[in-house]
């Protein structure tokens, strides 16, 4: 709770301060990209190692430095690219996997990757690489894929389990999705097969819903999730609901709707219920509020009083697309075991200016947020202010840690990959 309050206090100041960087003199401009200059914390620098191989979703970096990139759509029939760095640039050296998607992860000698309905794995060979002629093993199949919140991000624990988010193909489980005034369904039938995080075995073939466990429910959509290896806990960044004003203009105005609800950092507990679609988190009131589709009036909690709450609240609609617990030794001590979050950037703030489009860092102590977040890398949008997401030059989507502790950032607008390093 204290952590949430800390976050909220900062958020409040953030909301009042129109341009956070205008008052922040500690940041430094870093190596220019093809078309933008990133703004980073002192001592850090960023270099563009590839200017655009496609719409890069998530990325993973192997112990030998190979960079695995999951493409949203297959390119030349292949949905996974392998890049090798040489003289500051990373070139594509391998392509495989005939499916597009988002999720990718390396664990115990295997590369795991997802389409929007299935999860596959590829065995790494003696050279610590994927033989491109190898047929992948399909380990999970038949997950809900209805074109909304369809990406299947994944992470693995140290006991042979894989966690897959199955986003709800809906905004708030209305009778008519995204229809102004349409009421919500109780119970929401979507929750049986989506709107949560499922746990499967990492090594068992062709698992379907009946083989997995609904690990936690009431989570609208997650793109960024990560296993915290220091505490052995799952964390996930929820994408909060859209359109409070558009759906219920009598209860919310456009300004409130642009800030509500928070993007929630969840410590995902087994059996947890985080309240979607019935509840949303209001950072100003520091509690879960009953959604208007279910009779809420923007203030009452109703059934939301007992649901699990976030461990940290970020500004609304920023679109958290990647979460990474940093375990490297390269960055200063305060970054160790803290969380980096890549924000894809908002669209549901219109007609107000769009926000996000950055990478933030949230410090952790003993497995809990221990302070306010800092904007770690900014400038991806390539303008001081944009009204439409289409005007952003880049949209951060994936994060990975290299063997030397460097941080990699992928972009699914142009497909740029940055490598961020620290030198005192």
């Amino acid at each position: 709770m204290k952590q949430i309050l800390t976050g909220l206090l900062f958020m409040t100041s953030f909301l009042i301060t129109k341009n956070i960087h205008a008052t922040d003199t500690t940041k430094v401009k870093s190596a220019p990209a093809d078309d933008v200059t990133l703004v980073l914390q002192p001592g850090f620098s960023a270099s563009v190692i590839n200017e655009g191989v496609g719409k890069n979703r998530h990325i993973a970096v192997n112990a030998n430095g190979d960079i695995y990139v999951k493409l949203e759509r297959p390119q030349k029939g292949k949905g996974i690219l392998v890049l090798k760095e040489k003289s500051g640039k990373a070139e594509v050296v391998n392509r495989f996997g005939d499916f597009g998607g988002t999720g990718i992860a390396l664990k115990n000698g295997y590369l795991y990757a997802s389409s929007n309905s299935d999860v596959y794995r590829f065995k790494l060979n003696a050279n610590n690489a994927v033989d491109p002629s190898q047929k992948p093993e399909k380990i999970i199949t038949g997950l809900v894929n209805k074109g909304q919140h369809e990406s299947k991000s994944l992470t693995l624990d140290n006991e042979g389990n894989i966690y897959v988010n199955i986003g709800a193909p809906s905004n708030s489980c209305q009778v008519d999705d995204r229809q102004p005034g349409s009421l919500g369904r109780t119970p929401c039938p979507i929750l049986d097969s989506a709107g949560g995080i499922w746990q499967f075995k990492a090594d068992k073939l062709n698992q379907t819903y009946k083989d997995g466990t609904r690990y936690a429910t009431g989570i609208r959509n997650v793109v960024g999730l990560d296993w915290n290896n220091t505490t052995n806990q799952l964390f996930a960044m929820q994408h909060g609901r859209d359109g409070l004003f558009q759906m219920f203009p009598k209860l919310y105005n456009a300004e409130q709707s642009a800030e509500l609800p928070a993007e929630e950092l969840l410590q995902v507990k087994k059996g947890g219920d985080y309240g979607w679609p019935y509840c949303y988190y209001d950072p100003g009131q520091s509690k879960k509020i009953l959604a208007p589709e279910y009779g809420g009036d923007a203030k009452q909690q109703g059934r939301c009083e007992g649901v699990d709450t976030p461990v940290y609240a970020f500004p609304g609609h920023w679109g958290p697309n990647a979460l990474l617990f940093y375990t490297g030794d390269q960055f200063p001590e305060k970054y160790k075991n803290g969380a980096f979050i890549a924000f894809h950037g908002s669209w549901n703030r219109a007609p107000l200016p769009q926000k996000g489009y950055n990478v933030v860092f949230l410090p952790f102590k003993d497995g809990k947020p221990s302070g306010k977040y800092e904007v770690f890398a900014d400038g991806f949008m390539g303008a001081n202010e944009i009204k439409s997401p289409g005007d952003a030059k880049h949209r951060p989507c994936g994060l990975a840690q290299g063997p030397d502790g460097s941080l990699y950032v992928s972009d699914d607008e142009k497909g740029t990959i940055w490598k961020i390093t620290y030198k005192q």
């Binding site: 905004n171 008519d176 999705d177 102004p180 549901n348 007609p351 439409s388 289409g390």
Partner: protein, 135 residues
């Protein structure tokens, strides 16, 4: 006599055109208000949409093409992936059938004449005719 008739004809055709232009302008103005209320949050102020989610309304046959197709789309809504000018979009477009015939005609006329688009206006009678065929 003939000259006078010609003048009258030319004048009346000018008046007709002025009238049409005035109607078009008024419809676009009304349509822009409808757009701000019901469409802008997804399709954005400049009609550029949201990459991967909500398609742009700029320079696409979905908007500038046959009026009946556009009217049906608004009345029925749309789900599933669509391709617009080489990019793919997938989200739920809710039915806009709750809008009045005049509002639908105006908002379609607005988007067909905004964001760099240039296409004919949609009339109320067309909306009424096509709404009757949509179930």
């Amino acid at each position: 006599m003939i000259g006078a008739m010609m003048t009258a004809l030319v004048a009346s055709s000018f008046n007709k055109r002025d009238q049409d232009q005035g109607d078009l302008k008024a419809s676009i103005e009304r349509g822009s208000k409808v757009y701000e209320t019901y469409c802008l949050s997804c399709h954005m102020q400049d009609g550029s949409g949201v990459p991967g989610m909500n398609p742009p309304l700029k320079k696409t046959k979905w908007v500038e093409g046959p009026k009946k197709v556009l009217t049906n789309l608004l009345l029925k809504g749309l789900t599933g992936e669509i391709e617009v000018n080489g990019d793919y979009y997938d989200n739920v477009m809710p039915s806009q059938a709750y809008l009045k015939d005049q509002e639908l005609a105006d908002v379609m006329t607005f988007i067909r004449n905004s964001f760099g688009n240039k296409a004919s206006r949609v009339s109320v009678s067309e909306v009424i005719k096509w709404r009757a065929t949509v179930k």
